[in-house]
Structure formats: structure tokens, C-alpha cells
């Protein structure tokens, strides 16, 4: 059984992966390609981030489309994947949602 708490905790974990791959792509792979001509870096990190980005969007939609989230909250969760550090900054929001529903934060 996948409870509501499990969904939000999964979103938080996938958000960390998505956020980390975005940072690696932007701050490691892209400079490596531009500065040193190391094209494999973006060739590798691009698809990895693509998979993480799609997975995050899938899990986020599963978590937020339940009629209990405000429009602003949905935009914030979905939009976080587009901004560097966005998913990390959203962790507080997800923790608040867990606490507001009386769900375990672990």
C-alpha cells in the first residue's frame, strides 16, 4: 500500500535526484564542454537529467493532483524542477505538507 506520506517522501527523494542532476549538468557538464571541449560530459549528463526530470514530473503530478493542493502549491512543486536548487528549496514545503496531514516525516 502506498500511503500519502510515502508519495510525498518519494517526491522529496526524486526531487533531490532531479536537483542534483540539474546542478551537475549546469555547473559541471556544460562548463566542461564549453571550456575544455569535453562533449561527452553533456552527452552523458543530458539524458540522465532528462530521465530524472521526467520521473520527477511523473511523481510530482501523482502527489499534487488530489484536490488538496492550492494552484500556487502545484505550480511551485512542478516549477521547481526548472530552476537550479528549486527542488531543494521545495523540501520545506513538502515537509510542511507532511506535517499538516499528520504524516510521518521519516
Amino acid at each position: 500500500m502506498v500511503g500519502r506520506g510515502a508519495e510525498l517522501r518519494l517526491l522529496r527523494r526524486v526531487g533531490r535526484i532531479e536537483g542534483a542532476t540539474l546542478l551537475l549538468l549546469l555547473f559541471v557538464a556544460v562548463p566542461a564542454r564549453r571550456l575544455f571541449g569535453f562533449e561527452t560530459a553533456t552527452g552523458l549528463m543530458g539524458p540522465i537529467h532528462g530521465v530524472a526530470f521526467t520521473l520527477y514530473f511523473h511523481v510530482a503530478c501523482a502527489a499534487v493532483f488530489d484536490g488538496r493542493w492550492s494552484f500556487g502549491g502545484i505550480v511551485r512543486v512542478l516549477g521547481a524542477a526548472l530552476i537550479p536548487f528549486g527542488t531543494f528549496l521545495n523540501e520545506r514545503l513538502l515537509t510542511q505538507q507532511l506535517n499538516a496531514r499528520g504524516l510521518s516525516d521519516v
Binding site: R4, A60, A62, G67, L78
Partner: protein
């Protein structure tokens, strides 16, 4: 190899879209008629399995077809992938609704289910249009 990848991609598309359209129909029916909810726990594993496998296979074989066919830089394919990305989100939302409604008889199915159904239908029409006409 290209034709084989295309065949598997089409099979995956059929599996995935059938699961999603079936899921929408089931949730709309369950929302309108309480008795339909009894079918949700029975149908849930089939939906989650076929939809999940379909989603992964659509992306895997789709990217393989695009690579083998040399379509990766085509603008229409970029637009199609954006729509499929959004449909992946619709699939996530539908899966969660079916899971929750099947597990908890008291769970209120989201009023956004109608909007999700419209978004799914519009997305599928858009994907077909892009694939068939390749407008740009």
C-alpha cells in the same frame, strides 16, 4: 532494426494510451456512480502494470526510433516529446487517483479528473498531428 523499434514503440503507445483512457473512463464512472468503485481494487493492478510498462517502453523505444531514424534534431519531434512529457505527468496523476480510490473507499476522487481527461485527449490528438504531418 528501425522498423522493429517502430513496431515495439507503437505497441507500447497502444498499451499506454489504452491504460490511460481506460483509467480516465473508470475514474469518471466511479465518480458518477458509486457502485463502479467496487471494480477499482480489482482493475488497479492491471492499470498500474500496463500503464507503467507502457510508459517506460514508450520512452525507451521512442528514443530508439528517434536515434535510429535520425529524427533527434527535428523540431516536430521536440514538440512531440514535450507533449509526451506532459502526458507522463497526466499518467502519474491518474495512477495516484486510481491507487488512492482503490485503497480507501472514502477517498474523494479529484474534481480535476475531467480536466485531466480533456488534457489527455488533446495531448493524444496533438501527438498524432505532429507525427503524421511533421509540420516543422
Amino acid at each position: 532494426m528501425y522498423e522493429l523499434a517502430k513496431l515495439f514503440h507503437l505497441i507500447a503507445v497502444l498499451l499506454w494510451t489504452t491504460a490511460m483512457l481506460g483509467g480516465c473512463a473508470l475514474l469518471l464512472a466511479a465518480k458518477a456512480e458509486g457502485r463502479v468503485r467496487a471494480a477499482l481494487p480489482v482493475l488497479r493492478p492491471y492499470y498500474l502494470r500496463s500503464g507503467g510498462v507502457g510508459l517506460i517502453a514508450v520512452w525507451a523505444f521512442g528514443l530508439l526510433v528517434a536515434t535510429l531514424g535520425g529524427w533527434l534534431t527535428a523540431p516536430w519531434l521536440g514538440a512531440k516529446m514535450a507533449v509526451v512529457f506532459l502526458l507522463s505527468g497526466v499518467h502519474g496523476a491518474l495512477s495516484a487517483q486510481i491507487r488512492r480510490a482503490a485503497e480507501d473507499p472514502g477517498y474523494t476522487i479529484t474534481p480535476r479528473i475531467t480536466g485531466l481527461t480533456v488534457a489527455l485527449a488533446a495531448g493524444l490528438v496533438l501527438v498524432l498531428t505532429l507525427v503524421i504531418f511533421k509540420p516543422f
